[in-house]
């Protein structure tokens, strides 16, 4: 039997070709790990009892009352209100960076699929927007059971675009996401920061609860390399050759500066930013989502 910890391990799921299987496995593993968590039972709440009628599900019969009163009662639950989850997944060229075994694109789409599956299990409506330099694909949020299939199909058939224009793409996405809900952006945010800020502003203007998953490749973030290395930009295909150990200190300073700028921009707009690295499990990302789900 596979442990729940392993079920959220990206290295494990990177070996699975089927995205749906991946998403389901991650969510099941995650839920299995949360069986003692305070989120158990959030999907339906107990409301009252009524007399049993033909056709009622026998699983809802309260057998303790039957034992005392010799009469059949079934438990009634209040169904939760549907929530709209808009998944915005960056499919630009920079997301193809795969130095840790799994690309940021795969990691991000897996995360998106897992979120979609998780949301649909709670009868939430889930929509999908794939973007690069513009919106490439948009699915309206729906809570129907086959919505997950459509989402997974859309992800699977989409190829990364080399160019990126997050500002324009987020603006377009904000126009498309008309129903108020939660917007989960999965991107590396390697773009012009003012443009990104404008896109976030528009999403917030539409009263969306925005959750930004910033996806990093380990080598991008920490540059744990030595020697003379030719670095290639996946979007522009430009090369820079340098000694990694010689520039590491300054590089980390620049990266941290960028991370702080993005974090500050998100905080100023009430956007929660979650940083994920492709060699780390998805637990934290899913947990962050659930926390925001309860607030939404």
């Amino acid at each position: 039997m596979v442990s729940s910890a392993k079920m959220t391990d990206p290295a494990f799921f990177s070996r699975l070709d089927n995205l749906e299987l991946r998403a389901r496995g991650i969510v099941e593993g995650f839920m299995h790990g949360l069986h003692r968590s305070p989120f158990v039972g959030f999907s339906v709440e107990f409301a009252s009892h009524r007399e049993y009628a033909q056709g009622d599900d026998l699983r809802h019969v309260n057998w303790k009352i039957f034992a005392r009163q010799k009469r059949l009662y079934v438990k009634e639950f209040d169904a939760e209100t549907n929530m709209n989850l808009h998944l915005l997944i960056d499919v630009s060229g920079s997301m193809e960076c795969a130095n840790s075994g799994i690309s940021k694109f795969d990691y991000g789409t897996t995360l998106g699929a897992a979120l979609a599956h998780l949301a649909l299990k709670q009868h939430d409506a889930v929509g999908l927007t794939l973007y690069a330099d513009e919106v490439l694909l948009h699915l309206e949020p729906r809570a129907k059971p086959h919505q997950l299939d459509e989402i997974l199909q859309a992800i699977a058939t989409t190829k990364a675009r080399p160019k990126s224009n997050a500002g324009r793409a987020l603006s377009q996405a904000a126009e498309l996401c008309r129903h108020r809900g939660m917007v989960a952006i999965i991107s590396d945010f390697f773009d012009d920061l003012p443009a990104i800020k404008r896109g976030l502003d528009q999403l917030r203007f539409r009263q969306h609860e925005v959750l930004a998953f910033q996806v990093w490749d380990r080598w991008e973030r920490d540059l744990p390399l030595d020697g003379n290395i030719c670095f290639t930009d996946l979007e522009t295909r430009e090369d820079i050759t340098t000694h990694a150990e010689g520039v590491r200190e300054k590089y980390l300073q620049a990266v941290n500066q960028w991370r702080n700028d993005v974090q500050r921009s998100c905080l100023n707009r009430g956007v929660d930013r979650v940083e994920v690295v492709t060699d780390e499990p998805l637990d934290q990302a899913l947990l962050d989502y659930l926390v925001h789900r309860t607030k939404a």
Binding site: N99, D217, E220, N228, D233, H243, G246
Partner: protein
Amino acid sequence: MPEFLQSSFLFGAAAIAVPVLIHLFFRLKTKRVDLGTIRFLRIVLEENARRRKVMRWFLLALRMVLIALLAGLFARPFLSAAAVQGDGELLVILIDQSATMQLKGEHGRLLDQAVSDAQRLLTDAGERARFEVAFFDFAVHPLGAQKNADDRNQPLNVPQAANGATNYGAAIAWARDICIKAPEGPKELHLFTDLQQSGLDWTDVEAFPVDVKVHLHDLGQSVVNNLAVTDVRTPRSWIRPGETAAMRASVLHGGAFAREEVGVVLEVGRVPLIPKVTSATPTQVDFSKLTDRITFREKAKLEPGATVTLDFDLPALAEGVWQGRVLVDANDDLAFDNERYFAISATPAYHVLIVDNGVGAKTAASETYFLEASLRLADPGETYAESPFAPTTMSLSELERLPRLTDYSAVILANVPKVSSEDAAALAEFVKRGGGLLVFTGEQTTQEAIASLQQAGLAAGTVGETKIAVDLPWRFQQWDEHHPIYQSLSDPQHGDLRRMAFAAYTPIKPSDGADVIAEFNTGDPAVIERRVGQGTVLWVTTSCGREWSDWCQTSLYLPLMHQWLGYEVGLTAGGRVRNSILDANPEATDGLPTLSSQTDRGVSPLASSIPGVWFLPDHVAVINPSPRESETERCPREEFETRFALKFVSDDGTADPSSELQATELRRDEIWHWVACALLGVLLLEGFVGNRTTA
């Protein structure tokens, strides 16, 4: 321009290409890595691109210099002497003036021949040559640097008396120092000697500089017919009048053939009148002027290389100083060691007058009871023949005046309450004539009590109020370990003076002319010395009895009293008769002052290097040649070279030691250490720059 000893290593400089190739190789061999963006790298690299480019080339240049320096280091660079020499050639001349150089050669004494050859060497030297000339025996006697043509034409003064032992170690060390300190340039050492085996000093020596050409002028003779009296000794050089003395003499035969019936004569006689001398003019007494002369004559058969010991029993000797000699009555090649001197002092015990305050009246309660016992070395009423002192105790209270002091050698004042002006004047006169005065303080020692002594010039300073210990006792803290009194006590294994405890002492502030030779742990004087005329006054600032201390019962009390009083009468620093030999070996001088050193009361006659019995103001010095010098065996030239790590230039003068040694030995003008320093500096710089340079 530097030259190189091992220039083949310079080919290693071709390795300069290595860093260039490595540089190029690593530029070609790069690993490719895809990143989502290189915007951060661009930020970093655009900040200081020009600086990095300069640093890269600088780093490459440093690495090339590093290789070049490494090759240069192995090639052993040196600055040729011609490039750096300031003055001309340096000639160092060492002339052996030891006793064996008195041997007759073809042209007179070997020493005269050596001086003549050295003089010729000086005359023939170039105009720009500089000279350093020294005679040596057991010590080196430099004549001073001679730097111009006028100096070298001046004749060398030939030493007339040559009696010292040979010490090549000192001579070679002196020459080595001269050569090392001299500016770069051609240097030559000329050694005029007889290569005496016994002159090899077997202490550690440093290697002689290889760039100095060492010329040996061997003047020695292969066979020397020498008879020598190498030792004359008596169990004691100080006896009581009327005692007999047993003498033992050793005679060495250094010749090649056995000799029969060699006469050995011992002559001894009493010095009729001790000559009045000053410290600057030691005097000898001619044997013809001795009285009560006794002569012993023995015959001995001497085998080659053997030493024969002869015993002579002297009769009872009357009071006085007896001087004598043992000589071999035969002809040989070396005369300096044919006789050997000795002296015996037949002297009664020194009379010491102990003056106390009368308390206790010669019982154990008396303050001077233990003092007198320590000097007498016998029970009350008895005497001990071996004791150097004959004490007489008197109480000042019983006397109107002190007795006639001419009968005494020393006077001890032990806690005397008051001395009359007349007695103080007599004491002052007594000390000025050479008598000793030892003063112990006590409860009755006050400034008022010593006023008369102060007036007579015998006080050591101003007396303060008695200091009494409250909790911890006072102790001796430090003392002059080089003072004759404390020399024998300087080793704690012979008794630690700090262990003696005192409940009280008399603080004295020393006056001008008084020297503090021991201190208490409070810093106050414990013993003060003051010279008055030819005598000495010693002030001990505590009681000599048990009033303030139990030191009378310690094992240090007796030796300390004998040292103090012995110093007053001249028994310290070797006693009245002091034997020494003309040798640098300190063990051979029997602990006496070494060459040219000042004794406690005058100049040592060792400085004159003339054997004999010398009379000095406070003692008799018996000086004899070193028995080591009587051994005339020669050492091989190779042994000498090995011993002093040098190489003689061959007789034809063609060999250049520096060329022979250059492959393995170090030249003085090599500059590899500077290259090594530069290499280290560049290495550190390379590391520093390399860690801060990016591609």
